[in-house]
Symmetry: C2
Subunit: 495 residues, 2 copies
């Protein structure tokens, strides 16, 4: 009882002192009081293994989409579930894609309409990959909430939902109309969403003014606004030889082994110093201007902290600007692994019959996925040809996502700066993102709406890696940021 | 009834015609009548996932050893379970090795004593590797018994057990004393067995005259006697960089990736035409003599059948002698796979932090594992050094098994020829084996006993590969071969 009374007193005092901020304080107070529920909601969502890259997990992903739909319906949103067609699997079979869930809260023509985009599918994760905790059982350790998808992108989607819910719970009018567009295929390239966005251009998107994406993270401990992302061209290079795996004792020496071929062609992608060796691939990269260099110089980025955070002995570049440029606006090649070879513990003496390398090229303006696909395919076939191997090489680009770049002088970014200042008391950093949010570019090209990326994830959240997490602080303060942002956007002058 | 009568007539007729063979016919008749039990016994054994390379499966392996022990005790053998010490795991922890099971049947000093060596551990197998059936559920399709370990080496061990059992069931005296030595670590290099063999040289092995190993297969549809095997030097090459996996978008471009380093050093092991590129490794290989070439020319080996069986478009060599020589008496390098990289379905955009390549070199006379270890380690470190990578390379030889070669003019081989002729009606082929039976060389060096390899596995059994099998024919006729062989060995003149 005592505690309750003193809290009330504090609220009244703050209310008196800040005038307009009374309602904001009510909202943040509401968020603080409900944070355990928010953490539990995230735990429920993380417990669903909504791995979109593995078709055997598709039922879980469908279940995840159902949970989102139900939640938005409970909040009395105008919910619609939109079909995005089918997916053709490698074996030729065709399955339906998970439907996209949309919802609308408010349709006041005098208000701006903000569309929040998010996704609830996740990257693969297995405990034995090196997770300290079960990746599908959200576990709090020292203020961090560990679980696959915690930061990418389940907590941000929930934070947006909770932001709207807070306004409604306090019976406060939403300062803008809010729409949600939540998908389940982001991690594999937002399959089907391009077509849906085009089809909904003059329907769902017709009254949307701005699109907000919170599918990225800060660069440092300082909050950030993101104005660009790299794209991604993800390749499968498959070498197939014997009709089944052979024994290296019984058959070794008689066979031209697919693994030897595959290793040899992979070794022609990138040099030890990070130079891409595929002819022509870097030709289309935009010039690095002096103006750009200056923006990078102002970014609060400590190389030593970054180096220690990721735990490497030396970074690829020894100065901040080159490093940021190669993270944000130059392409790179990563070899992710090989499917079909022996990958377990122990000493299997197998000659794998069919091995598929997975590698990807992060794309930047003005690279075109279709051009990159041809350059990579031609290059690998040319190198393979020289080996005169009897094995078969197949090269396929399975993701071709374009980069995205925003205008940092737009009012959306000004609103973002004010919201960050209100919640965190600091100016946000202006950053780019090395990763890919494929749909950003599609939104820009097709809907021609203005887009902002407003991240709440921490710089060390370990997206796509073992021990992914979001801190309780970022999750809860992030919810407040979204509440504030809706308010700030309402102050942007209507055209 | 009619059928029974006619069978009895045939037996009597054959008995009259062949004299001594009466008892052999009783034995083969017994085998025929009990073949369903034999298949069921194999099914029971295959159902135990006794994968010795995966320590998480150690309980299953222990259970397998217990089943063997129990079976030999039921048969009233003089059973002993021998400790072979401990195994140090990669994380530094120490666990006991599975004990070796031995048994003795008969101790008549006037008879020869034959020691049968076998193993009941298996290579890894997962349904998703491409097995048409559950690898641990023995499944009969068109006369073939599919299951992991069916041919390597569970059916041969059972066939030896059933051979002894048949003599005992018919109350017939064993023509020789028979000892069994069954281990559970063969697939990872027979850990601990070297020490045991040395320790038992003047105990268990003191009354042993001959050692028989049936851990290999025929070369064609014709039964074979095997007189040589290759050894194996199995390596782990581990490149370690960041302290945990990173995201190719978030961090790609800033990091010297361990996978890129690993691919580059793996690409320096073997050329497209099969030449080993590691300096010095082939220096110790024995000269290929004209006499040897002639033996190879006489082997009934159809390259086209072999090519089609393994399902490749072209073999490494275009003539029989070169091909057999490179399968049997020249070394080769196989890259088996990479642990720690992304190996699943889908499109994970990970930068793996620590990746371990598994590759092996099949060794031949007169290569020395310790020398090869130094040559490979020095070479990989030299190549890695040139890359000036900040990542860490560790190279380790985890198996170093020597090759083995027997004298084909020995009486053991003459006995083998007679036994094959009796059961199959043909002369056996004299062949070598590209794979490794590490213990053969140890038996030879330490016990100085004469050794024969007497295979019953088919040429297309798919050892270590998906869909391993043994045919019902080879399993059952192989049991008869072992029965006949015990008889033939009893005719070898005592010194």
């Amino acid at each position: 009882m005592m505690e309750c009374v003193s809290v009330c007193v504090v609220v009244l005092m703050m209310s008196a002192a800040r005038g307009h901020s009374l309602r904001f304080n009510d909202l943040t107070d509401y968020v603080n009081k409900h944070q355990e529920e928010y953490v539990q909601a995230l735990r429920d969502w993380v417990s669903i293994e909504s791995d979109s890259s593995d078709v055997t997990k598709r039922a879980e992903l469908q279940r995840m989409m159902g949970v989102v739909e139900e939640k938005l319906r409970e909040m009395k949103g105008n919910v619609d579930v939109m079909d995005v067609g089918t997916q053709t699997l490698e074996d030729g079979s065709i399955i339906p894609l998970p439907k996209v869930v949309t919802a609308a809260f408010g349709e006041d023509e005098n208000k701006h309409t903000v569309c929040v985009y998010g996704h609830v599918d996740v990257q693969p994760a297995r405990r034995e990959d090196g997770w300290a905790t079960d990746p599908y059982n959200l576990t709090e350790i020292n203020g961090n909430l560990y679980g696959r998808g915690a930061s990418d992108n389940k907590a941000p989607v929930l934070a947006w939902i909770h932001a709207v819910e807070a306004y409604k719970a306090l019976d406060m009018e939403l300062p803008v109309n809010v729409k949600f567009l939540i998908e389940g295929m982001e991690e594999t390239g937002s399959n089907g969403l391009d077509v849906l966005v085009a089809a909904q251009r003059d329907a769902f998107f017709s009254d949307v003014d701005y699109i907000v994406i919170s599918d990225c993270g800060w660069q440092s401990a300082r909050p950030a606004l993101t104005y660009g992302t790299r794209g991604n061209a993800y390749f499968y290079a498959q070498v197939e030889g014997p009709k089944q795996d052979l024994h290296s004792g019984v058959d070794g020496g008689a066979v031209i082994e697919p693994m030897t071929d595959l290793i040899a062609i992979l070794d022609t992608l990138i040099s030890a110093s990070g130079e891409i060796l595929i002819p022509g691939v870097t030709d289309a990269v935009a010039n690095f201007t002096e103006e750009e260099r200056k923006i990078y110089e102002e970014v609060d980025f400590d190389m030593e902290t970054y180096r220690r955070t990721i735990g490497v002995e030396r970074l690829m570049y020894d100065n901040k600007v080159d490093l940021l440029a190669h993270l944000w606006r130059f392409p790179t090649v990563s070899i992710h692994g090989i499917e079909g070879a022996f990958s377990g513990h122990g000493t299997k003496t197998v000659i794998p019959a069919k091995v598929t390398a997975k590698f990807s090229i992060r794309q930047v303006p003005n690279m075109e996925p279709a051009v990159v696909e041809k350059q990579v395919t031609d290059h690998l076939h040319a190198v393979f040809e020289q080996r005169k191997s009897p094995n078969k090489l197949k090269v396929k680009m399975v993701i071709g996502a374009k980069p995205w770049l925003a205008d940092i002088k737009h009012a959306l970014y000004e609103a973002g700066k004010r919201a960050v200042k209100r919640v965190f008391g600091v100016e946000p950093e202006l950053i780019r993102e090395g990763g890919t949010i494929p749909i950003a570019r599609t939104f820009q090209d097709v809907t021609e709406k203005d887009i902002i990326m407003l991240p709440i994830g921490g710089f060390d959240d370990g997206l796509h890696s073992q021990n992914e997490k979001i801190s309780r602080y970022n999750y809860i303060e992030g919810t407040k940021l979204f509440i504030a942002y809706l308010h700030e956007v309402s102050h942007i002058k209507k055209d």
